[in-house]
Symmetry: C2
Subunit: 321 residues, 2 copies
């Protein structure tokens, strides 16, 4: 038995782009889009539409900006009728004017990522999107460090001031346990009477998939995943696991297995995502993984493996060395 309201979103290129400055080849992006369409995924998020005033086009690849002509090259005249295209705008790094009227764009859904403190910016961008004819969502990042009073107020505002379809619990630090997921989904549902609740998990404690299931059980209907978990730091809920768990017969795992073979596995040689002890440490300490990403990029092999020192550095225990 399945819940027809459930929507699955493939964020491979968007979240994975945080690990390679959104520098995927056109072929990779095209193959991921085609595979997601063939697999029956509801929405494919191809990248960010962030401001070129804030990100250098020399430093960042095309999927940090998702210019319409680049998206057109991905769709290649064969836009799926059932799989929507999404792009993300960061509330504090994007501008409303970069969004065309819907009829001039290949995009269907604008997802606005925000910290709780930036919720007013997020609401402005979300309203810009819905006013221009798009579906929109608001994705509240780093939820595990949000102050509860501010979160409550933000959710109330989102309910009253927007026409978004869904608002997300985003566990950026991979710090939440299933009981926390229950807590946040319940809170969202209490405030967001007219919206769906979404869930976007990271895998620092190997709970990305499990917490997504916990979210489903608690009532989340917008579910994010990425191919082979490709995403920031320890990565995300693996899309292939999510699809095999869901019972809706419209989903077909085979195109996902195929694109993982051909397009994602080669990336494992140049992008290092997935569970590791430093990522796990930032997860259990409820911290941003940036310090662990920096360690992973270090050329000092001995330092990279000094897990206890890394842990003690973050917990400020005196280290004897």
């Amino acid at each position: 038995m399945f819940r027809p309201q459930i929507k699955v979103i493939d964020c491979t290129i968007r979240d994975g782009g945080l690990m390679n400055k959104s520098n995927f080849s056109f072929d990779t992006v095209k193959n991921v889009y085609k595979a997601s369409c063939a697999a029956g995924i509801d929405i494919v998020e191809i990248g960010y539409r962030n401001s070129k005033k804030m990100f250098s086009v020399d430093e960042y690849g095309p999927w940090r900006f998702c210019d319409e002509e680049n998206l057109m090259r991905i769709v290649d005249g064969n836009k799926s009728e059932t799989t929507k295209i999404a792009i993300m705008q960061d509330a504090h790094k994007a501008i409303a004017e970069d969004i065309l009227p819907k009829e001039k764009s290949v995009v269907d859904v604008i997802r606005v990522a925000t910290y709780v403190k930036d919720v007013d910016k997020a609401i402005r961008l979300a309203n810009n999107a819905t006013d221009k004819g798009y579906e929109a969502t608001i994705n509240i990042m780093s939820i595990s460090v949000a102050l509860e009073r501010e979160l409550d107020e933000a959710l109330q505002q989102i309910e009253e001031e927007t026409k978004i379809s869904a608002c997300y619990v985003v566990d950026s630090f991979g710090a939440l346990y299933s009981e926390d997921i229950d807590f946040y989904i319940d809170k969202y549902k209490k405030y967001l009477k007219s919206k769906e609740v979404g869930i976007h998990c990271h895998n620092h404690q190997q709970l990305g998939f499990a917490n997504t299931i916990a979210g489903i059980i608690r009532g989340a209907n917008y579910l994010d995943g990425t191919l082979y978990g490709l995403g920031r730091a320890a990565g995300n809920c693996p899309l292939e696991l999510l699809i095999s768990f869901l019972k809706n017969p419209k989903f077909d795992i085979r195109p996902l297995l195929d694109v993982i073979s051909k397009d994602i596995m080669p990336l494992t040689r140049e992008i290092y995502w997935g569970y590791s002890i430093p990522y796990m440490i930032t997860g259990i300490l409820n911290r941003h993984p940036d310090v662990a990403i920096k360690l992973a990029e270090s050329k000092n092999e001995k330092e990279k493996l000094a897990f206890l020192k890394f842990y003690e550095g973050l917990t400020e225990v005196e280290v004897e060395d």
Copy 2:
């Protein structure tokens, strides 16, 4: 707040030994034992005591047999007063006579692994152990393919005919979801009024840790984990995650981080455990991972990456190639 009845078992060397024929160096085993003691782990399972008539001593390393003199070398005159030592006997591959009277052994706990069909053999070995003065457990493997009528009867027998301390749900195929864990734990508790329930999870669907948490919530008090998840195929519930989740202040994660750095990470160059698409496929199909292990050991790099072909082969869909 913590549940004092919870016991944590480190199975690194025992379950990891399924990936290298139990060929760990004495130093590695000694360091794992010492780290587990320092971390406050309740029981360390050092290996199997299986029959030398069924396993060749030329082919398998010392931890497939755990001769007393080898265990003494690990303990090295410093046996922990709080961390017990366990060994495992396979119901169909071990003999009762290989177990000495308790007072002549450094071992505290005999864990008997069995399939449901071999439960009478397991009961005989478990009773042999408790009669000789040991604590014993029975670990029912491959639970996800056990026939329910046979499982019910086995649990009834175990309750009535043994003096074991705990009986385990063992998800050998990594096939269970949290709702399945709930189902099995409830069933075990219904039959096993005088025993504790244990849980031993595999990570084929990245649910090893999450399902262990699900087990805890449902009442399991014997919890298995391994360092960095080292174990058969996709591996196990990572011990470092489990310890960081549990609230009992007696646990200290730091010795575990240190031994992972120094002794487990070097093993990643020669033993290939952890999440992969072939292991995930056997997990979602509720199959033994042997076919995926065989694929992982193949020297044909192209074949190893042909995930769709592997999936279709197992699901008997006609493959055009």
